[in-house]
Amino acid sequence: MLWLQILVYLALLVFGVATAAKIWKYASAPIHLRWELYPVTADREKKYGGSYYEEMEWWKHVPKKNLFHELLAMGEEILFLKGVYENNRGLWYASYPFHLGLYALVGLIGLLVAGALAEMAGISVAFASPSLIGVALYCLTMLAGYAGLTLALAGCVGLLAKRLKDPALRPMTSPADYCNLGYILTLLVVAGAAWLFADPTFSAARAVAGSVITFQPLPETSGIVMLELALFSIFLLYMPFTRMTHLFAKYFTYHKVRWEDSPNLPGGPWEGKIQEVLNFGVSWQAPHIQTGKTWADIATEMPQEEGS
C-alpha cells in the first residue's frame, strides 16, 4: 500500500503546485489595455449595461467596485451555469448536472476530512451518533456522495453523447477530450461500485481521509476502494494540465478583463503601472516598428518605413 500512499501525496503535491503555478501565471501577468464587456456588475442600477461613460464629466461618477455584486453574479454563473442555460440550453441539460455533481463531490471530500477530524476528536460519525455534529456529518456525506455521483454520472454520459453526436461539437473534440471524459466516467463508475458494494456509508473513505491528513499509513480496505483512490489520484495529477482549470481561470476572465472597468484617473494607481510597461523593450520586427527600442519610444515616433 506504500505505492498508493506515495501516489496520493504525489498527486496532491502536483495538483497543488501546478494549480498554484497556473493561477500565478495569470495573476502575475502585466496590466493590459482595457477590454471590458458591458454590462459589468459594479453598477446594479444600470442592469441594461450602462456605464459611467453615460454621464457628463464621467470621471466624477465612477462607482466604487462592489465585490458583493460581483460575487453574486459569479455565484449565479457557478451555481446555475446561467450563461450556458441562456445561450446553449441543449448543452446545459448535460453540463449542469455534471458540474453540480462535481461540486457535490468536492464537497464530499471536505466532509470526509471533517468527518475524520471529528472522529479524531472522539465524535462518532454515524446516523445513530449521540452527537448532532456526527449525525449531520454522516447525513451530509451520504447526500453529497450519492447525489453528487448520480448527477455527475448522468451529466458525464450526457456530455459524452453530446460530443459524439452533436455536429457543432464533434469536429472540435479531440481523442484526448473523449479520453478525458471517458476517464472521469470510469472514475465515477468505480467510485459508485466502491460505495455501493464495499463502503456504503463512506466509513472506509473517511478512514483514508484521516490517514492522509495525519500522514499515517493507509488503512487496510477493499481492493475497489483502493482502485477508486488510485484513479482519483491520477485524475488530480493531470487535471491542472487540462482545460478543466477554467474553474480558476473564470475568476480572471471576469474580474480582471470583462468587469475590470477601472479608469486611469490622474493621480490614481494606474499611472505607475503604465509607466512601468511603457518602458518594456520591444522586439517586434515589422518595418513600421523600431525594434529594440522601448514601447514608449516606438509609440511616440513615426513609423520607421516612412523614413521619419
Binding site: 477590454w35 461539437l169 480572471f252 511603457l278 513615426m302
Partner: protein, 536 residues
C-alpha cells in the same frame, strides 16, 4: 474540395486550391420584401488575381497577400510567424493583451455556445470555418504543437494535429478578417473566453511581425493619418476649405450664420469627428455645429494634423499604430488647453481614445475624454435647445455601434434623445449591449479591395439588414420613409454599401444617418427640414 461542414481545424494546413466554396442558397433568409432575393454567385477573383494573391480560404481576399516568390521565402515567413507567435506570448512584447489572451487560449472548452451569437457564422449558413472558435483553435494547435516542448508527440491524439506551412498562415491571416470583432461571442461565453480578442491578436501578430495587414487600415489608414493628418488624405488646408464650405452650406440650408471655431484655446470641448463625416456626410459636422452654437457650448475643432480626425484604425490590428495616433491626439488636446476631448459620432474612435488608450497615456498626456451622447442628452432632454418632435414623425430605429454599447456601456443617452424627438422610434431585436454589428466593424466598412465588399454585403452585414427589415415590417413599403439612426461613421459607411447593395432605398425607402441630424431636423430654431431624403 470537401463538403463544407466536414472541415476541421486539422485540415487547415492541407494543400487545396480553396478550402470552401460559399453557397448563397444557404445564407440567412431575409423577410419581406426580400423573400425571393437572389444573391447571385459570390464574386470570384480574376484568373490573374488568383495567380498572384492568396485566396485558398474561401475564394475571398481582404488583405490581398501576394504569394511568396519562392519556397525559401515561404519558409522564411513561416519561421518569422513562429518567432512572432513567441513574442505574442511574452509580457515585454505583448503586455497590452497577454493576460486576456492567455486566459482565452488556455481555457476554451469548445462548448460552441458562441456559435449562434456570431452574425457572420449564422448569416453564412453556419459555414464551418467562420465558427467563432475556429481561428482560435487553429492558433491554439500551432502553439501547442510548434512552441510547447514535446508538442509533436501524439499531436493528433491531443487535438493538436495541424500542419504549419505558408498555406496555413495565409488562410489564418485571411480568416482573421472574417470576424468584425463585435465580441458577441465573448459576451455569451460562460467562461469569459474572447474569440474576438484572439482574432485581433492574430491580426496584430501578422502586422507587427510580418508587416502583413490591410492597406486601407495601415498604409492608406494609420500611416497616412500620421503623415498627412487624416486617413482620408485630408490635410489641414483641405480641412479649412471644407469648414468654409460647411459654414456656407449651413447658411444656405438654415439661414443660420455660424462660424465653426478652429483652434480655440481654452474651449470646454475639443470636438473630434471621424474625417469621413467631413467628406461623405458633411451634414453631420454641420448638425453638431448648429446644435452647439445655438446651445452656447464652448467648443472647437483642431486644424492640426491628426487632431481633426478621430479615426484610429490601429484599434483593429496593431497596438503601436493605435498608441501613436492616440498619443498624438492627446498631445494636441493638451496644446489647446481644452477641458475635455469630445468624441463625435464614431464608435471605434470612442473606444480607441477613451477606454483602450487609457493605459498608454503617461500622466502628462492623460487628458479628460468624453462621449458626445451625454452632452447631447443634456441639451435635448433638459431643453437647452427646443425641439418639435412632430417634425420627426416617421419610423426611426437605432443601430447600436458595438464599440459604444457593448464595449463602453453607453446605451441610454442616445435612446432618451430619440424617445423625446422621434414619436415613431422603435427598437430592433436584440439591441443595446446585445446588438448585432452593422457588418462593417473592425475596419470592414472601409475595406473596398477586390471581392471583399461582396462578401461583406452578403454575409457580415446580412444579420443587421434582416434586423432593419424586421423592425420596419409594419411599414416596409416604399410609400413610407424610414430612418436608421446610426451614430457612428463607420457604421454609416457600411449602411451606405449594405442598403445600396440590397437596393433598400428604392424598394423600402430606408435611409440611414446620424443622431444629430435628427436633432437638428426637430429643432424649432431651424426653420426648414434638415434631413434631405435622398440616398447618399
Amino acid at each position: 474540395m470537401k463538403p463544407r461542414q466536414e472541415w476541421k481545424a486539422s485540415d487547415f494546413g492541407m494543400p487545396s486550391e480553396q478550402m470552401t466554396e460559399l453557397d448563397p442558397s444557404r445564407f440567412l433568409k431575409l423577410p419581406p420584401p426580400y423573400e425571393d432575393w437572389d444573391d447571385g454567385e459570390m464574386q470570384s477573383l480574376s484568373e490573374d488575381q488568383k495567380g498572384r494573391i492568396e485566396h485558398s480560404l474561401d475564394g475571398v481576399t481582404a488583405i490581398g497577400i501576394p504569394k511568396p516568390a519562392s519556397p525559401e521565402e515561404a519558409e522564411k515567413r513561416v519561421a518569422d510567424f513562429l518567432e512572432g507567435l513567441r513574442k505574442l506570448l511574452t509580457k515585454e512584447d505583448n503586455w497590452t493583451f497577454l493576460q486576456p489572451l492567455l486566459l482565452s487560449m488556455e481555457n476554451c472548452v469548445k462548448c460552441q455556445t458562441c456559435n449562434d451569437a456570431c452574425p457572420v457564422y449564422t448569416s453564412s449558413g453556419n459555414e464551418e470555418i467562420y465558427r467563432p472558435t475556429f481561428r482560435g483553435e487553429v492558433l491554439r494547435r500551432i502553439i501547442n504543437k510548434y512552441l510547447k516542448p514535446g508538442g509533436k508527440v501524439m499531436a493528433a491524439f491531443r487535438g493538436n494535429d495541424i500542419e504549419l506551412n505558408w498555406g496555413t498562415l495565409a488562410r489564418l491571416a485571411e480568416l482573421s478578417y472574417r470576424c468584425t470583432l463585435c465580441r458577441r461571442c465573448a459576451q455569451v461565453c460562460p467562461i469569459g473566453v474572447d474569440n474576438g480578442l484572439i482574432t485581433r491578436e492574430i491580426r496584430k501578430l501578422f502586422s507587427q511581425q510580418l508587416g502583413i495587414n490591410v492597406d486601407e487600415l495601415h498604409g492608406s489608414g494609420t500611416v497616412k493619418q500620421l503623415q498627412v493628418g487624416s486617413s482620408t488624405g485630408m490635410n489641414p488646408t483641405a480641412l479649412m476649405d471644407i469648414i468654409e464650405f460647411a459654414e456656407e452650406d449651413i447658411l444656405e440650408r438654415t439661414g443660420l450664420n455660424i462660424k465653426i471655431p478652429i483652434d480655440k484655446e481654452g474651449a470646454d470641448y475639443l470636438v473630434m469627428h471621424n474625417a469621413g463625416e467631413f467628406l461623405s456626410w458633411p451634414e453631420n459636422l454641420q448638425a453638431f455645429a448648429i446644435i452647439f452654437e445655438i446651445a452656447g457650448v464652448s467648443w472647437t475643432l483642431s486644424s492640426e494634423q491628426v487632431g481633426y480626425d478621430s479615426v484610429n484604425y490601429g484599434l483593429f490590428y496593431d497596438d503601436f499604430m493605435l498608441a501613436r495616433i492616440a498619443l498624438r491626439q492627446a498631445r494636441i488636446a493638451k496644446g489647446l488647453k481644452v477641458k475635455s476631448v469630445l468624441q463625435g459620432e464614431c464608435g471605434h474612435a470612442h473606444k480607441a481614445f477613451m477606454p483602450i488608450a487609457d493605459r498608454v497615456f503617461p500622466a502628462e498626456l492623460n487628458v479628460p475624454r468624453e462621449s458626445c451622447f451625454p452632452l447631447l442628452e443634456d441639451l435635448v432632454c433638459n431643453e437647452k435647445i427646443m425641439v418639435d418632435p412632430s417634425r420627426n414623425d416617421f419610423p426611426v430605429t437605432l443601430h447600436d455601434p458595438c464599440n459604444i454599447t457593448r464595449s463602453m456601456g453607453i446605451v441610454e443617452p442616445q435612446r432618451r434623445i430619440l424617445r423625446k424627438i422621434c414619436p415613431q422610434f422603435r427598437e430592433m431585436t436584440p439591441h443595446g449591449v446585445n446588438n448585432y454589428c452593422c457588418g462593417g466593424g473592425s475596419g470592414f466598412a472601409i475595406m473596398q479591395g477586390s471581392n471583399f465588399p461582396d462578401w461583406r454585403n452578403k454575409i457580415s452585414g446580412r444579420r443587421k439588414f434582416k434586423q432593419i427589415l424586421d423592425v420596419f415590417q409594419d411599414s416596409i413599403g416604399p410609400e413610407t420613409r424610414k430612418y436608421v439612426c446610426a451614430p457612428c461613421s463607420n457604421c454609416k459607411g457600411q449602411f451606405r454599401d449594405l442598403l445600396g447593395h440590397f437596393d433598400a432605398w428604392e424598394r423600402c425607402r430606408i435611409l440611414y444617418g446620424g443622431l444629430v441630424e435628427l436633432i437638428v431636423n426637430a429643432m424649432v430654431d431651424v426653420k426648414e427640414p434638415f434631413i434631405e431624403w435622398d440616398f447618399h
